[in-house]
Symmetry: C2
Subunit: 235 residues, 2 copies
DNA sequence: AGCTATTTGTCCGTATGTATG
DNA sequence: ACATACATACGGACAAATAGC
């Protein structure tokens, strides 16, 4: 059990209050002095917490004015002409893959919506690390319907390939229906696995793969190390 | 001219020394106390600089051991099957565009290589801000050959559209030949324009647009606000 | 316009905790 | 066990930008 520092717990408390809607985007947070008084700490301890939140893009400080909550992230549609067909296995450049977790659990609402299944339905979750030249390149998480693919977990375990495991389950081909790209900052857990600093730039892709009938088969997240990686896309 | 703080100049000095190869990846930097003595500042001022470098993924501190230089960034090719056809004008969702700079200057080596022209050849540089709902979405920079498009600057100025300006110059259609995606951290200038915190996550795309003959016509960079937007790509 | 109080930014100094070697 | 080195927290002081009068 890691003892959490005071500034980190303050950052968590303020983040939770923003998430709960206590402070809305555009709102001004209490002054550093007020927060220091409220939490019973020195102003610098509050500053450290606010700095952390600012690095995560949650807040923004304006000297002389105050600390303000930034706007909620909004999606930005590029349009139908945009195509981003991503298939890491097809790249032929994935020398190593390390399995972090393989488990079956009830899906949450987001996963249910992506896979078009009922919430709470069991799903297989495959989390792992992609390495190239023994350097961590990305963390990925793939979610599949456990009802549709009963034996997928065992196939993934020894095949270590989503494509081949799906092929064994009868899905000969699948295509990327949609991909969303965002830049994020590395969390502590991600930083640990990817061997980067906490707060390092991360390129996150969220995608849905569908079979030839258009039925979703995989809901995948990938977190690439931003500064260590450039996705080179040739059309 | 903005007065740079002491910790920032220290961070710049150390970053330059790493870039110059004075410290190689894996090397241990001098201790905070030694650096404080060398720069004639308090240890906390050095810490602020080291923290900034760590956030950028340049260094990593291990308590009790020291501060170490991380590995150099490397490119990561995905492969030829990957397609990412991006055209912001085709999205139909770019309500506002603000011109930051319009100028003609000699191109550098990188631009020369991308546009397949000789180094030092004059190029038109179009820098601007993309806004949606009066919120800054991205900074872009487009570079064109000035010899091939003599009157482009004026067209860009009043059309405010790359597509229409190129059409006026005889390029009826152009396609994205390649795009490279990277996650970055916002620089001070970018943070200012995009109204985000310095160090906020930035999604950078670097692309080359070619005419139907395959000849490069535009070399473009775009810096999206990572947390404020998600690139939604539908295939 | 100026002026003033407020608020964040920077820098210093000190002390103590915690992990490393 | 010990010295070293980074992590955290406290305190004070002044500068710089902002907001309100």
């Amino acid at each position: 059990m890691a003892k959490t520092s005071v500034w980190r717990s303050i950052a968590n408390a303020l983040t939770a209050e923003i998430a709960a809607g206590h402070y809305r985007p555009g709102d001004k947070l209490p002054t550093e002095a007020e927060l220091a008084s409220r939490f019973g700490v020195n102003r610098h301890t509050v500053r450290r917490a606010l700095q952390d939140m600012q690095e995560q893009g949650l807040t923004h400080a304006r000297r002389g004015a105050g600390v303000f909550v930034l706007a909620e992230p909004t999606d930005y549609p590029i349009g139908k002409r945009v195509r981003f067909h991503q298939n890491l296995e097809a790249a032929g450049r994935m020398p190593a893959k390390r399995i972090l977790t393989l488990q079956t659990r009830p899906c949450d609402k987001e996963e249910a919506g992506a896979l078009q299944i009922a919430a709470g339905t069991p799903v297989h979750v495959y989390e792992g690390l992609s390495l190239a030249d023994n350097i961590a390149i990305a963390i990925f998480r793939s979610v599949f319907s456990a009802e549709r693919f009963p034996g997928l977990l065992g196939d993934l375990d020894h095949m270590k390939s989503v494509t081949r495991a799906l092929a064994a389950a009868g899905v000969k081909d699948y295509t990327r229906a949609s991909t969303r790209l965002t830049a994020k900052l590395a969390t502590a857990t991600q930083a640990l696995h990817l061997n980067v600093a906490e707060g390092a730039p991360i390129l996150r892709t969220v995608g849905i793969n569908v079979d030839p009938d258009g039925c979703p088969v995989e809901y995948g997240h990938t977190w690439f190390v931003g500064d260590r990686i450039t996705l080179v896309v040739e059309g």
